[in-house]
Amino acid sequence: MKKLKQVQLDDNQKKENMINIKYFGAIAEVTNCSSENIKKSSSSLNDIIQEIYSKYDLKHIPLKFALNQKIIETTEGIDVNINDEIAVLPPFAGG
């Protein structure tokens, strides 16, 4: 299995308003890392998701978002803070 780059936020990045995003499966293949810190221009989850979409070509994958290990049904009106865990998930394939 290919080991993908994994990063965590350090204290300086927290001050700089960065947030940690985790990627899995087919998504991690597109992003070429299993996690990264991105600069968040706003606290809206929707804006952060738009940033991810503009950075990577993910349109061909039916993806889901999880905030603190819970699937987000609608991303509208949700605010995130620095210690939240955001994950981008491709279709599930267990079993």
């Binding site: 299995m1 499966g25 087919a26 491709p90 279709p91 599930f92 394939a93 267990g94 079993g95």
Partner: protein
């Protein structure tokens, strides 16, 4: 019994010996009258003339463990079960090997059938496990559960 954190993920295939030992461990539990077991096996699917030789499983562990404990709680609330176990493989599992093991026990037969079906479905739809189907020529495609 319900809140206990379980070791669900197994690196590599689930061996027939492991399954046999799991059955043996229940022989001391005298209130059980019926076991039901579901085993998921990696199928050598054929896609456009190419055969799947293995599936490489990964998961979002923190969320998967949380989800599995919810499934566990829901199953105990809904069905009259004595015990239940769920195991899933991670890593490279070859076609023909076992990657998923659900073991449900109860006093009587009827509950274990429905509970097993329900638990298997919940694991497939709700648990963030990802699978890469690797073909014989090392090409691959990402697996997606269909129902």
């Amino acid at each position: 019994m319900m809140k206990k954190k379980k070791n669900i993920f197994i690196e590599g295939a689930i061996s027939p010996e492991f399954i046999a030992e799991s059955i043996a461990k229940h022989q001391t539990k005298m209130n059980i009258g019926a076991h039901n077991i579901f085993l998921g096996q990696v199928r050598a699917d054929e896609v456009e003339g190419k055969k799947v030789s293995a599936i490489e499983y990964t998961c979002y562990k923190a969320m998967a463990e949380e989800k599995l404990s919810e499934i566990r709680e829901r199953a105990f609330e809904k069905y009259d079960l004595t015990c239940m176990h769920i195991y899933h493989s991670l890593g490279n599992i070859k076609a023909g090997e076992i990657c998923f093991f659900v073991f449900v026990s109860s006093k009587r037969r009827k509950q274990v059938y429905v509970a097993t079906e329900d638990i298997v479905n919940m694991v497939k739809t709700d648990v963030p496990i990802f699978g890469k189907e690797i073909f014989e020529d090392q090409d691959y495609q990402w697996k997606e559960n269909t129902f």
